[in-house]
């Protein structure tokens, strides 16, 4: 029983961390209407930006996370302006393929600079806290805290700022938003900045506990997509619900599958949801 509980605990932590990039992914989908695979490479970019900030500049974890957010967010805007925006008029499929190609380009830029070796952040290695047969690492708890803060910031942004409200308007009804004078381009840039910034935070959080390499983002993209789809593509609360679901499901899968099959869980979840309830748990465009 403790085994199952431990897995659930691990799953909730993993799910909360997964929610960060999932929100980014689903927000971009809500506004720009195509699945932006480059969330994978921006997660990697964020992870490495944070790594440089931490090991190169000696910044503590929370500051390095901010760096990850800013660098990934900026990269997201630039990449979209240069590459994806001109292709969006050609349709969602072309944009999706271009996003896959772009993610390969960005991943290899990182690989060119840093090589393939695993790297760890310069953080003290501390023993896990144990209680009642369960163990949880101090780093995991910190990740949880950072993820919650990030999500709270996003919700506040969407609810209270002008740009946030404009974003919701465009996601809800782009034509009406245009008529009301909301600048679609500005909104696109904003959502890319926030969305990819969140991907960057996600990439770094993944690596804080373990290590990072150029494939960090790619390894997690299927789970991110699964979280967004399960919760309902385009719905931000849906992304959170979906991420927690996927996080726990992946951990529980360890009861019967080898650890390497966690990605398969995400894949199966996507299939199941798209076949049986394509709107996801909270439904597309629910906000």
């Amino acid at each position: 029983m403790t085994e199952v509980l431990q897995l659930v605990v691990n799953g909730l932590v993993a799910g909360t961390v997964l929610a960060v990039p999932a929100i980014g992914f689903t927000a971009i989908y809500a506004v720009l209407r195509f699945p932006n695979f480059t969330v994978a490479s921006h997660a990697t970019i964020g992870a490495f930006a944070g790594y440089v900030a931490n090991t190169g500049l000696g910044l503590p974890a929370w500051a390095a996370v901010l760096v990850a957010f800013l660098v990934a967010g900026l990269a997201g805007v630039v990449n979209d302006e240069l590459v994806l925006k001109p292709l969006r008029p050609s349709g969602a499929l072309t944009a999706a393929i271009a996003a896959v190609a772009l993610t390969i380009v960005l991943e290899n830029v990182v690989r060119f600079i840093f090589g393939n070796d695993l790297r760890g952040y310069d953080l003290p290695i501390r023993r896990d806290w144990q209680a009642g047969g369960l163990r949880i690492g101090p780093q995991q708890v910190q990740n949880l805290a950072i993820a919650v803060v990030a999500m709270a910031a996003v919700f506040a942004f969407l609810a209270f700022t002008r740009m946030g409200k404009a974003m919701r308007a465009v996601a809800d009804n782009p034509m009406l938003a245009g008529i009301k004078g909301i600048n679609a381009d500005a909104v696109a840039r904003a959502v890319n900045f926030v969305g990819m910034g969140l991907a960057g935070i996600g990439g770094m959080l993944l690596g804080l506990d373990t290590s990072i390499d150029p494939l960090t983002g790619f390894r997690v993209i299927l789970s991110v997509f699964a979280a967004a789809v399960v919760g309902g593509l385009g719905s931000i609360p849906g992304a959170v619900v979906g991420a927690l679901t996927i996080g726990v499901a992946e951990e529980l899968s360890l009861l019967s599958l080898a650890p390497a099959y966690r990605t398969a869980v995400g894949f199966v979840a996507i299939l199941v949801v798209l076949t049986l309830r394509p709107r996801g748990i909270l439904g597309e465009r629910a906000y």
Binding site: Q6, N10, D117, L118, G120, I125, R126, R127, D128, Q130, R135, G137, G207, D209, T210, S211, I212, D213, T216, R219, L254, P259, A260
Partner: protein, 404 residues
């Protein structure tokens, strides 16, 4: 890729040119045509074995340059083509094809990782190219290599046998094996269980993981559930680094042991002392008292050579002596047929290829003993026996326990 500039010194070329006239009957086989003898080096310059590749290559280059400086073999200079296998079987196969198809080498020397050797071996025996390796997996000499393969590293059976005895001597009762996916993972597991059981202890469990992951939390959980007093980390440096970090975080306080190529100086430098302290390491010990070792140590600039550069020194020496014994027939088949004639049996004991070539030219027989050991091979290409070196990590440095 062009051959490395150090391997063919211009001075030696001019020296050897005069002796070219002395070349008599040279077989007309494609690879043994008049002109330079062509040999290949395939070492891990990058990847998990990346810290060992450069000294391995340097050792081979040095032996070749010594031979060339002494006039080559029967007047023919030796040309070395060196490639990086990236500790990756796929890259290694492509590099090997280039060495075999384009550079037409008679031998490929110095593959390190067992998976690399397993992938490259069929290409070698099918094209009758001689392969010398430092890989240890039992499965390698069990391949149908038709004699085109020898290795200077003790095989898994021997290595794990000694490891098991060592753990028994430490009075360990419950050993858990955490292994990366490699050709030797399963044979190691089986052999360790065998040795431990015979000594009254037990291998309480074994897990094989895919080494390309960044976290091994579930595998660690499995290991700790079995309450071992010793964990054998049978992987490579990158994954063992992560395993050790996670063992520490999980609060494990029992014993840890690994092969020295995994827990090496680089790993000790990258982790805090609390994480690595107390870890035991095992490695085959080179013949540190031999003349060959001492000369190689001077060339490589270190008193404490890793076993692989010593073995590579011996690879190059054995291959060149075999060609010399075959009267200059620089083909894989000739090397295969002659390598044991110069490495074991009667004959003058020599510890350098240059010395041996000179004696062979005088019609004498030789028996080469190298920097890694006496280099005596069985029919299947394994070495007969060797000594081992046991160390323990203490405050971020290695302490030698014994050589036995």
């Amino acid at each position: 890729m062009t051959p490395s500039p150090r391997s063919v010194s211009r001075r030696a070329l001019f020296q050897g040119a005069g002796a070219l006239a002395a070349v008599a009957a040279v077989p007309a086989a494609a690879r043994a045509q008049g002109g330079a003898l062509r040999l290949g080096a395939l070492n891990p310059l990058t990847g998990a074995g990346g810290s060992y590749g450069p000294p391995m290559r340097k050792a081979i280059e040095w032996v070749v340059s010594e031979i060339n400086a002494a006039g080559g073999i029967l007047g023919r200079q030796v040309q070395l083509f060196a490639e990086d296998d990236q500790t990756n079987p796929e890259a290694a196969v492509r590099a090997a094809r280039k060495l075999i198809d384009v550079d037409k080498v008679a031998a490929i020397m110095g593959t390190w990782a067992s998976a690399v050797t397993t992938a490259v071996a069929p290409l070698c025996w099918e094209s009758k190219t001689f392969l010398t390796t430092v890989s240890g997996s039992d499965t390698i000499t069990q391949l149908p290599h038709l004699g085109y393969l020898v290795r200077t590293q003790p095989n898994t059976h021997l290595q794990i046998g000694k490891l098991g005895e060592f753990l028994l001597s430490l009075k360990m009762k419950r050993v858990f094996t955490l292994a990366a996916q490699t050709p030797f993972a399963v044979p190691s597991q089986k052999r360790l269980a065998e040795v431990l059981t015979k000594g009254g202890s037990e291998q309480v469990g074994a897990v094989i993981y895919d080494k390309d992951k960044t976290t091994f939390r579930s595998e660690i959980d499995q290991a700790l559930k079995a309450r071992p007093d010793m964990i054998y980390m049978n992987g490579y440096t990158p994954d063992v680094t992560v395993v050790m970090k996670e063992l520490y975080k999980a609060g494990y306080t029992g014993g840890k042991v690994a092969q020295a190529y995994a827990v090496n100086g680089k790993l000790l430098n990258s982790l805090p002392a609390e994480v690595t302290d107390g870890t035991y390491t095992v490695a085959p010990s080179p013949s540190i008292d031999s003349v060959a070792y001492k000369r190689l140590a001077k060339v490589l600039g270190s008193d404490d050579l890793d076993p692989y550069s010593c073995q590579c020194h011996d690879h190059a020496s054995l291959v060149l002596l075999a060609i010399a014994h075959a009267k200059g027939d620089a083909t894989g088949t000739a090397i295969k047929d002659h390598v044991r004639k110069i490495s074991q049996g009667g004959g003058v004991k020599v510890e350098s290829a240059a010395e041996g070539v000179k004696l062979l030219a005088q019609g004498k027989e030789v028996n080469f003993d190298g920097a890694s050991g006496p280099c005596e091979f069985t029919e299947t290409g394994d070495i007969l026996d060797t000594r081992f070196r046991y160390e323990q990590a203490e405050k971020g440095k290695f302490k030698l326990l014994r050589i036995a």
